[in-house]
Symmetry: C2
Subunit: 416 residues, 2 copies
């Protein structure tokens, strides 16, 4: 006959209490750090009224590249810990330890990248701030290795929650992104508590968030569901092209550097020059965050078929040549562009297509289908949309195969 076991419940209640405290503190500190970054970014880049002439933009890009290169080069040399400056690697290989002294290098580099027009995202630096601050906190608290790992993951989740404006999806993204094919539940509670705290403190510090209500959502039908799965497949292919382009340019710039023995800080300078040449032909809309393209797509405006490719190309050159920047915002933009341009071909409203596309590309390129579904819920609200978002996200996640924008992501379960 089984006996009631009081001890385990007491331990678990203590665990809950412990993480309520640890994760709330972490979330608050991380949210404050990311808010500082986001305000600086806003200050530097968000001037829709200011028109930048093309020649100025063409000058800015190589300058930004060189500054980025110098900063990262000397920053990396200042990191004498031998630890990799990556939160995912910290969780898997470094017992949750990250270099603390160089915490500002990546965020400042990202500010330079985006201010000079480099095409990249803003969440990489936020998750970096989150992971690094959490790693430092863990050492202050004297946590053991297992708790330290979880605290770093929880800092990453807090960073994503703050930058996305979606506390639950951000938190689960931070957990799901650690490995392909699995969510570890033991990381979830800290992540969600920290995500909510970080999101709240960011709102308190005045970070603005945008949500999109999908108007005119059709009555659910199996046919539309299958059509959104097709959009998901197309987005999976788009995400695949994006991931491979980034990888290809990384490889190409590396080979170039090795063959001609180029000093590393000159590589993003070269990348900036290449971008300057390309924007003679490609609209400058695809530089920087390009979130206005995503907004237009979500409002139902007609988007060019090749838009996603221009964005993917510019991001691949930016990040591949050695600029530092985030890689999730581009996934949003690419997804919204693909979804909204493909949807009308299938007789689906471009707004629904853009929403489904946005989360599908994230599900695929980041290997985070469950976070993507919750992102759909938190960004677009409504229940009917959840079904469309879910089918498409997981289709995209499968189609991309075992590629990932995160080289440190480990493979937990193969997809087929």
């Amino acid at each position: 006959m089984r006996r009631f076991n009081y001890i385990e419940t007491a331990v678990m209640l203590a665990t809950v209490l412990q993480w309520l405290v640890l994760a709330t503190i972490t979330g608050t500190i991380v949210g404050t750090g990311t808010s500082l970054f986001l305000h600086a970014l806003h200050f530097l880049t968000d001037h829709p009224a200011v028109f930048i002439p093309l020649w100025v933009q063409m000058l800015l890009l190589p300058i930004g590249g060189l500054l980025n290169g110098l900063l990262l080069y000397y920053g990396r040399r200042a990191n004498t810990t031998g630890l990799k400056d990556s939160a995912i690697a910290a969780v898997h290989h470094q017992n949750g330890r990250m270099p603390f002294k160089t915490v500002l290098v990546k965020p400042v580099a990202a500010l330079i990248t985006l201010a000079s027009g480099g095409s990249a995202g803003k969440e990489g630096p936020c998750s970096h701030i989150g992971g690094t601050l959490a790693s430092g906190l863990g050492r202050v608290f004297g946590l053991n290795v297992e708790l330290q790992k979880r605290l770093v993951a929880c800092g990453v989740s807090a960073g994503f929650a703050s930058v996305f404006g979606t506390p639950i999806a951000g938190a689960i993204y931070g957990v799901e992104v650690l490995a392909i094919g699995r969510i570890r539940h033991d990381f979830l509670f800290p992540a969600i508590i920290a995500g909510v705290a970080s999101f709240e403190i960011s709102k308190f510090w005045g970070i603005p968030y945008h949500y999109y209500a999908i108007q005119a959502l059709p009555e659910f039908s199996e046919i539309i569901f299958l059509k959104t799965v097709i959009i998901g497949c197309v987005c999976g292919v788009a995400a695949w092209i994006f991931v491979d382009l980034v990888g290809w340019f990384k490889g190409a710039f590396n080979s170039l550097r090795e063959r001609f023995n180029i000093w590393p800080p000159f590589m993003p300078l070269l990348g900036g020059i290449l971008l300057s040449v390309l924007i003679i032909f490609i609209p400058t809309d695809y530089l920087g965050l390009s979130t206005h393209l995503m907004d237009d797509a979500l409002e139902g405006q007609a988007m060019p078929y090749l838009g996603f490719f221009w964005k993917a190309l510019l991001v691949a050159i930016t990040l591949g040549s050695g600029f530092y920047g985030g890689i999730v915002t581009p996934q949003f933009v690419i997804g919204a562009l693909v979804g909204s341009s493909v949807a009308p071909l299938l007789g689906i409203h471009p707004t629904l297509g853009a929403a489904v596309g946005l989360v599908s590309v994230v599900a695929a390129a980041s290997n985070t289908p469950v976070a993507a579904i919750l992102m759909g819920v938190e960004l677009f609200g409504g229940v009917a949309g959840t079904v469309y978002v879910a089918g498409a996200s997981i289709a995209a996640y499968l189609v991309i195969g075992h590629r990932s924008v995160y080289p440190d992501q480990v493979l937990a379960y193969p997809k087929s």
Copy 2:
């Protein structure tokens, strides 16, 4: 330099196509099977106008018990395959194979249980129908072991999607329930496609579903969030009491049977007699599905503090003595009762408390926190509620420790 790999993408697109077909067929067949069961259940039990006198109810319970006992006893003997009649065991230990000849035994037993007043749920038989039909289909299609396992999981998901009325949460529940501490993503796509198909076909066959819009949801605040986490912890303890009560009565009835060498079919008869005696003191509301209690709680009516305990006790005696029935509806009811009675103590609206409690007990007792979060989304709509549901669900999931209502669930990752 990396090369583009076209083959993997082709393979993954083929995988998507394969599962679109397989899972849609499975979902349609399973949804039809569960619809038949749900209509039969509706026909037998759903007569709110008919008043059953207490003495009739007291007679019905032992008769139902004996019939249940006989049916399960001879049904089990008719199963000559040596395979366990459990979908979770089928996925983990039986290469996705389940006994097909006895597919009707459990559903008919569940109908007898619920019609005679046994306190249990309706989703067990539905997931059973789903798993068994899918296992049979897999053999018809001649699938290999890996695909066969996934098809069974996908049948289970389809069963849950149809009985819950929440296609995505049902599908993810079917995947998450397989193990403690992990979601395997390779099971997700089949599950979601099948879940949606099954839900749609069930609506087509006229199964009614109820959704609850939480009115008067307060503006988000960190304080309310922490309070809902407390509700989650209380629900975790309630779920723990529930799981241990079921286990304790199972053990007690087993010991009794062994000591006095009682013929197995007589055990649920004894259970029925015990229930008959208890309902002299305990309201008969706690017999059967008790979903009206859940509805009342979600409408904000005041609920008795001990309600959850009466429900847990009657379910534990019903299932512990050997009646067959589902074990998820009781989790809904217990959660709604606990949540709505605890909420006013914390200054929270009982409706929010009931909603948060409902999903928290499921998250804990079934070890399915992610499915529980999505269940909150699909049952209650709205985005603000998602945050409350998420924090509480995961807290409850932790507090219950490594207990589970499903003995076949394997432990993938410990919770702390």
